[in-house]
């Protein structure tokens, strides 16, 4: 019997010929990431492990993202504990506000994660990096501290779920709509403990940005990881990033064998997918946007590690066109990284958002987790391009969060109620030269 891409990467990092689902292995780690919420407890656990030095200061990334720039005195304390740890251990890949952003968009940009890697992040959305054809998963702080101490992690080899996407995404359909469709079908724990392997011709039509959205939300289906085998799009993207960053490491391109075994196989007809909206308060409560259109909103948030890349901002700006946002709506636009911010600025997108009445912020997770920059009050309704609409996620527990792609979010901002982008902007994106869905 053959192996899946996930099994092959894990076997290579465990120093064995092959591994099987259910087996517990010790795996070498290529990059260990933590942020301002998870690094301080990890530093405490690391100190209690009494090993002294970290295993490899060049393979650790620390990113100020969640409460950065510090939202209050307590979060300033967390940020400075992370900075002290970085200084004490000579951590090279340490990213302050103004030089980083949200880790899951930052690390691929920085060429710190590449095909074939094993990446462990103390953040649940560390599954995002799988879009580059690597194995990548989220853990808690103590697990991460153990990686800092030893360079290894214990893993139970996951079963794999294979999702084949047929067809081609229509206008306004991006990676977000594909993953919301899958989660609506399999449920919030439909892929629990599994590796979600995304394949099929429709994936070939997706841009790198859209693919990163697809793997970002593996955790919302309970998966351990999401993975997309590297193809020309991936290799072109990674080579470009490596060149710009001056970081050269050899990519290892793995692919599943035809005889590999899957715990579940699923086919998704992408031609039939419409822009999707997840109703409160679970990602699985996703329906086509037309089923919830007309829902009045108080806030629109365009940001987060799910949808705040440059493509997302281009789409949002395209839908916005020359419109103004609705009077009763507050719109937060938060580019995910400094680089995305600068690019959006250079293209005039930030100006356009600001002129239409949006609040534009420096990169941060911010509103996504109800931390700052757009916390919801009692009973408020928000459309968010992020990944979680749980009770209390973005602020008051009585607030309602709907998840959507950036086109739907901006259409909603203009209409003042949940709207299909075609309703506010009749020109399909392809005709205006903006790539949507590939």
């Amino acid at each position: 019997m053959g192996s899946t891409i996930t099994e092959k990467i894990l076997a290579a990092h465990a120093g064995v010929d092959s591994v099987s689902p259910g087996e517990i292995i010790m795996c070498k780690v290529d990059l260990a990431m933590a942020n301002d919420v998870t690094a301080p407890p990890a530093a405490d656990a690391f100190a209690r492990m009494e090993v002294g030095r970290v295993w490899d200061a060049a393979k650790i990334a620390l990113v100020a993202s969640h409460f950065a720039p510090a939202k209050d005195i307590a979060s300033a304390g967390l940020l400075s504990r992370m900075r002290q740890f970085a200084q004490q251990h000579g951590i090279e890949h340490y990213f302050e506000a103004g030089r980083g952003g949200i880790e899951h968009i930052l690390l691929p940009e920085e060429a710190l994660v590449i095909p074939g890697d094993v990446v462990i992040g103390a953040d649940s959305h560390s599954c995002t990096y799988g879009a580059l054809g690597c194995f990548s998963t989220g853990v808690g702080s103590t697990d991460l501290a153990a990686v800092w101490a030893t360079g290894e992690i214990w893993l139970r080899v996951p079963e794999s779920m294979r999702i084949e996407y047929t067809g081609r995404p229509g206008p306004w359909v991006v990676g977000k709509d594909l993953i919301l469709t899958v989660i609506a079908e399999i449920g919030d724990d439909g892929a629990r403990y599994m590796a979600m392997e995304h394949t099929g011709e429709a994936i070939g039509h997706l841009s790198m940005d859209s693919r990163l959205t697809l793997t970002n939300m593996a955790i919302e289906a309970g998966a351990k990881s999401g993975i997309i085998p590297a193809d020309e799009t991936t290799i072109g993207y990674v080579s470009g990033r490596q060149q710009e960053m001056g970081r050269q490491r050899d990519m290892q391109v793995f692919a599943s064998d035809e005889t590999a075994a899957y715990a579940r196989e699923l086919t998704i007809d992408v031609d039939a997918i419409e822009p999707m909206v997840a109703r409160p308060s679970l990602p699985s409560l996703s329906v086509p946007v037309t089923e919830v259109s007309g829902t009045r909103v108080d806030q629109v948030f365009i940001g987060s590690c799910t949808n705040a890349r440059i493509e997302d901002l281009r789409i949002a700006a395209h839908v916005l066109g020359d419109h103004q946002i609705a009077k009763h709506v507050r719109v937060m636009v938060i580019p995910a990284t400094q680089r995305v911010w600068q690019q959006a600025n250079a293209e005039g997108l930030l100006d356009r958002f600001a002129a239409a009445g949006c609040a534009v912020s420096t990169p941060t997770c911010g509103a996504c987790l109800g931390a700052h920059m757009g916390v919801l009050g009692p009973g408020e309704v928000c459309v968010s391009t992020s990944n979680r609409n749980y009770v209390g996620r973005m602020g008051d527990p009585t607030a309602d969060v709907y998840l959507a792609n950036p086109a739907v979010a901006m259409a909603t901002a203009v209409a003042g109620e949940i709207a299909h982008p075609a309703e506010v902007q009749p020109v399909a994106p392809a005709e205006r030269g903006v790539l949507v869905g590939g």
Partner: protein, 162 residues
């Protein structure tokens, strides 16, 4: 032994410990807000030894270890669930919060029942109803971490041995 606090499916880490409290890492502070957005009475009324009993996918969502830590610091002696989200599962084992997967026990336990949990043998006893359940045993590898008192102790042992 303790009283069961019974909840449903998909109890996520945002309701176990909302992000607004993540600016602290103090277990006692975290415990005072445990489960606040799901059950505002929990933190004030939970007694040492009490057991959280919930449906499927307990602890889904964020990787915040604060979720396991706040329950342990609140005095919760174990969480019994139909199933656990994987990061919460690891965090609980790593930080020494006993957890057991036992859908049958979950089905029969009502809020307020007296429940006893034996982690080593994977047994859940509903004292109120006189019923006993055998939970899914933890893999031997994972029990080693539990016996070392959590991952910190386990790493220390490994480093010392190498």
């Amino acid at each position: 032994m303790g009283k069961a606090w019974r909840y449903g499916d998909n109890v996520d880490t945002d309701v176990i410990i909302p992000a607004r409290y993540l600016t602290t890492t103090d277990p006692g502070d975290l415990a005072s807000h445990a489960l606040e957005d799901l059950d505002p009475s929990f933190a004030a009324q939970v007694k040492p030894g009490d057991v959280v009993v919930a449906g499927d996918n307990f602890g889904c969502g964020s990787s915040r270890e604060h979720a396991a830590i706040c329950l342990k610091a609140a005095g919760v002696s174990a969480v019994v669930a139909g199933s656990f989200a994987r990061i919460f599962f690891r965090n609980a084992i790593n930080t020494g919060l006993p957890i057991l997967e036992c859908p049958e026990a979950v089905r029969d336990i009502s809020n307020g029942d007296e429940v006893e949990v034996d982690l080593e043998h994977g047994v859940v006893v509903n004292v109120t109803r006189g019923q006993e359940y055998q939970a899914e045993p933890l893999p031997e590898f994972v029990m080693d971490i539990v016996r070392a008192g959590g991952l910190v102790g386990w790493v220390k042992q490994r480093v010392a041995a190498s």
